[in-house]
């Protein structure tokens, strides 16, 4: 490995970079938020470019490329600075990452707009929508429980997997309450979104749900959360509207159903 501190001149460069990235004071003080914002934009734009020149190859979805490249860059930089990736992530990337992350708040409430645009569908099908989400998620919970059991997960692992239909902010505390590991749950919730964003179109064709806009929308919103809603919106206004309503209703369903289910199967 080529250490950055090989020569005196290099040491000052390392010092200067370290100050900017906040890695010098043993990760105590947060670095410059601009690095996180810049890195996020660059890796996402590379993803968009790869997606375009590969004519839409599913593994080159910008979000997926951005995530993998971003982690790779952080791991390499952490190696160069002689810290571990997690510490480097917290001191150098997180300040900027949090600023972008904050914008998910207004972006999530913005889904009320596509929801309202198809208020005609909501008004006519509200009973079917509610029943489908409650029943569908309950069936899915049982299946997820047995899948997790089948691959040999312990109770902590299973409890971390059950709340993943909800958005991260709900899934994490529920996971902790039923004895799971919130860090795993958060990771799984994010990966759900990435999978739906990359494979959503293909899955919908494979399982022949594309003729049914309400079902496709509700499914995408449940499985892919907010990103699933954006995907659904690309398919059509009904799909987008249904995905938005799914995000809201599923939050409440997971709040109520998952703890009861965990108690029934004796997780805690």
């Amino acid at each position: 490995m080529m250490a950055l501190t090989a020569t005196p001149q290099m040491a000052s460069w390392g010092q200067w970079l370290g100050d900017a990235l906040g890695t010098n004071a043993a990760g105590a003080n947060a670095g410059n938020a601009l690095f996180g914002i810049f890195l996020s934009l660059v890796v996402f734009l590379i993803g968009q470019w790869l997606f375009k020149i590969s004519k839409g190859f599913f593994l080159f979805q910008p979000l997926f490329v951005g995530m993998v490249l971003g982690i790779l860059v952080l791991a390499i930089l952490a190696h160069l600075f002689g810290t571990d990736t997690a510490t480097f992530y917290r001191s150098a990337y997180l300040p900027g990452g949090n600023i972008i992350f904050w914008f998910l708040n207004p972006a999530t409430i913005a889904f009320a707009i596509p929801l309202y645009r198809r208020n005609d569908v909501v008004k006519r099908f509200w009973l079917e929508i509610l029943l489908s989400l409650v029943i569908g998620t309950s069936i899915a919970l049982v299946l997820i429980y047995y899948v997790a059991r089948a691959v040999g997960m312990d109770n902590t692992g299973i409890a971390s997997m059950l709340p993943q239909a909800a958005t991260t902010a709900i899934a994490m505390p529920i996971s902790a309450a039923i004895g799971g590991n919130p860090a795993i749950t958060a990771m799984v919730c994010i990966l759900n979104s990435v999978v739906i964003y990359a494979l959503g179109d293909w899955l919908i064709k494979l399982f022949r749900i594309s003729q049914d806009p309400i079902g496709a929308g509700l499914g995408l919103g449940t499985a892919g959360h907010t990103v699933g809603s954006a995907k659904a919106l690309q398919l059509g206004s009904i799909q987008g509207s249904m995905a938005a309503i799914a995000v809201v209703v599923i939050s409440v369903v997971v709040d109520v159903v998952v703890p009861i289910f965990a108690m029934l199967v004796g997780l805690k």
């Binding site: 952080l74 009320a112 489908s132 997997m161 990771m187 739906i196 919106l233």
Partner: protein, 152 residues
């Protein structure tokens, strides 16, 4: 259930879009009120701020307190950014690489299957519900595919 005429509510905004700062102000006000409401929920029944905010904005639109032209420019812009806004969440996995190293394959398999299970279970249940509406209650299930032409 009352039979609604199959008429979409969405009409192109007749008025020009509200100034962007006003739209931001509306979003900020809704988020602030939502954070206050979200704090009222007990820790065992968490309902995060953005979910409360989505409901509030929908109710305000549905009751015509807010009009589309007052929020849709900023809202559509934010939605178009959603994949980018999730990049930091994706990179957050970097903080937990050690978990992945020990149980990564298990987690990945269950996560992948669970995503497909959730999608398929909910979509097929909806199919069944709509079939019941059509064949048991002889309800009308026709919908306009697209009203504002932003679909593919």
């Amino acid at each position: 259930m009352p039979t609604q005429p199959n008429k979409p509510v969405a009409t192109p905004a007749e008025k020009p879009a509200a100034p962007i700062l006003i739209q931001m102000g509306i979003f900020a006000a809704i988020l602030f009120v939502s954070s206050l409401i979200s704090a009222l929920f007990p820790p065992e029944l968490p309902v995060p701020t953005p979910v409360v905010g989505l409901v509030i904005l929908y109710v305000l639109l549905a009751t015509h307190v807010l009009k589309l032209y007052q929020v849709e420019k900023l809202g559509d812009f934010l939605i178009s950014l959603i994949a980018f806004l999730f990049v930091p969440s994706g990179i957050q996995v970097a903080a937990n690489l050690d978990i992945l190293r020990t149980q990564g394959i298990q987690i990945f398999i269950v996560m992948l299957l669970a995503t497909i299970i959730l999608l398929v279970c909910v979509a097929y249940t909806t199919k069944l519900m709509i079939w019941i509406r059509q064949h048991v209650f002889h309800g009308d299930i026709s919908v306009d595919a697209d009203v504002d032409g932003d679909g593919s």
